[in-house]
């Protein structure tokens, strides 16, 4: 299962062979969120840990160029405590499997299921359970609170001021692991058909200031695409990518702080 693969990777980071030269305490406090996407034939598979968002913009060329948003990760800022508390989970989302909370999943080979079956097995289909996430953190000795002057809720060790994480799942967090932060990814899968698609993967630096709707309007105003039926067309979203980063930077100009921003855009249709 992919869960085990992520755990192996997590353990490798814990060993810190490659990072022994740095201060141990700081290394314990460090971790990472990640999104891994595999596109094969007409299927997209997504494994997500923490607040790196991925979504698909799909447009049915025959009727209009209006884009629909299909969430591959849970929300714009999935797995952050605030998103879970508000339960603003994207309504039009891919078929999702929650590996941690679905009991029947443990003996099932996800890979087999992913590649061989078109319809999800009802037994293993499970929605992401917010109560389960919060219960795990409180039972492990963590707590969720806001620091003065901050809008975001964060996860702390009970009564302490560290580590201040915003995700309930991440990889490489050693102090986090002791308060219920796990490295089991949330997994989703989607099949696509005719039409034009944009695959967008972006870190929270961008998603915090630009919602999916903003990104659609930037893409619509930036790239001109070819409108010829049955032709293998290739669009390079050069304009879009620089416009999105510029727009995000503009939002941060008001404050003195600006986070790292990275975005991957991929345009495709059935044929390329």
């Amino acid at each position: 299962m992919i869960k085990n693969e992520f755990e192996k990777l997590n353990e490798y980071i814990y060993k810190r062979d490659a990072i022994k030269y740095i201060d141990e305490y700081d290394a314990y406090l460090s971790g990472a969120a990640l999104t891994l996407i595999i596109k094969k034939d007409e299927t997209i598979f997504c494994a997500n840990l923490g607040n790196v968002s991925a979504f698909l913009l799909s447009s049915d060329r025959e009727h209009s160029y209006k884009y629909n948003i299909i969430g591959l990760t849970l929300d714009d800022s999935d797995f952050t405590v605030d998103a879970l508390l508000s339960q603003n989970i994207c309504s039009n989302k891919a078929v999702s499997y929650d590996l941690e909370n679905a009991n029947k999943m443990t003996n099932h080979n996800l890979k087999e299921n992913f590649y061989n079956s078109k319809e999800p097995d009802n037994n293993i289909y499970s929605n992401f359970d917010i109560k389960e996430e919060l219960r795990r953190i409180y039972e492990s000795g963590g707590e969720i609170r806001k620091l003065a002057g901050e809008e975001k809720s964060r996860i702390f060790v009970k009564g302490k001021y560290f580590p201040g994480l915003i995700n309930t799942r991440s990889i490489g967090d050693q102090i986090g692991a002791s308060i219920g932060i796990i490295c089991t990814p949330h997994v989703s899968k989607i099949n696509f058909n005719d039409g034009i698609y944009y695959l967008v993967i972006a870190t929270d630096g961008i998603i915090n200031v630009l919602k999916a709707e903003n990104i659609i309007s930037i893409i619509e105003n930036s790239d001109v695409y070819c409108n010829i039926e049955y032709l293998i067309f290739i669009i390079v979203p050069i304009e879009s990518i620089s416009n999105i980063i510029d727009a995000a930077k503009q939002e941060y100009k008001k404050s003195s702080y600006c986070p790292d921003m990275t975005i991957i855009l991929r345009t495709f249709n059935k044929y390329n």
């Binding site: 992919i2 693969e5 992520f6 192996k8 990777l9 490798y12 980071i13 062979d17 490659a18 990072i19 201060d23 700081d26 290394a27 406090l29 460090s30 971790g31 990472a32 969120a33 990640l34 999104t35 891994l36 996407i37 595999i38 596109k39 094969k40 034939d41 598979f45 923490g50 607040n51 790196v52 991925a54 890979k111 990889i171 490489g172 993967i201 870190t203 630096g205 290739i234 390079v236 050069i238 879009s240 990518i241 620089s242 999105i244 980063i245 510029d246 995000a248 930077k249 941060y252 702080y257 600006c258 986070p259 790292d260 921003m261 990275t262 975005i263 991957i264 855009l265 991929r266 345009t267």
Partner: protein, 156 residues
């Protein structure tokens, strides 16, 4: 490979290409981090030798693309204020664009790392966002070792 791959002409010579690269890189890897290469977790990876290398091989439909340095930039572009960076990497043949920008903050390093691999009909995208004092090192470790996870899906 799966049945769907028959849409494109088979990439017969990919194995040969890998072998060539392996032989070519053997001398390079033996010089440097020998203890890393000996590690079964890393050394066992089929794509070990592509680490840190941006590869485009049109003939074999193989593209591997990652950030090269800790700053997350191949080179710096200063904006009007003289701070911050933005640079886009584009794959014209596949309709892919990656944009990244280091923020204005106390940390020196960019904590975001990405990884793109296209091998025929299979495409793999990974975006990693490190946090904490040494988030850049953690995300770098993941970028280097994400192959283990990918191989699980790739070996069908």
């Amino acid at each position: 490979m799966g049945g769907g791959c028959s849409k494109r002409p088979a990439t017969v010579s990919r194995k040969d290409f890998e072998q060539k690269l392996n032989n070519k890189n053997k001398s390079e890897t033996s010089k440097g981090n020998s203890n890393l290469a000996d590690n079964p977790l890393i050394g066992g990876s089929k794509y070990h030798n592509y680490k840190y290398k941006n590869t485009i091989d049109n003939e074999n439909n193989l593209i591997i693309f990652t950030q090269l340095d800790n700053y997350g930039n191949d080179f710096f572009v200063l904006d009007e204020d003289g701070k911050g960076t933005a640079y886009s990497n584009i794959y014209k043949s596949k309709g892919i664009a990656v944009g990244y920008s280091k923020g204005y903050k106390l940390d020196v390093y960019n904590q975001d790392k990405f990884f793109v691999m296209i091998d025929g009909m299979v495409e793999i995208y990974c975006l990693i966002d490190g946090h904490g004092p040494y988030g850049n090192i953690i995300s770098q470790l993941i970028q280097d070792h994400i192959f283990q996870v990918i191989e699980y899906f790739y070996s069908y």
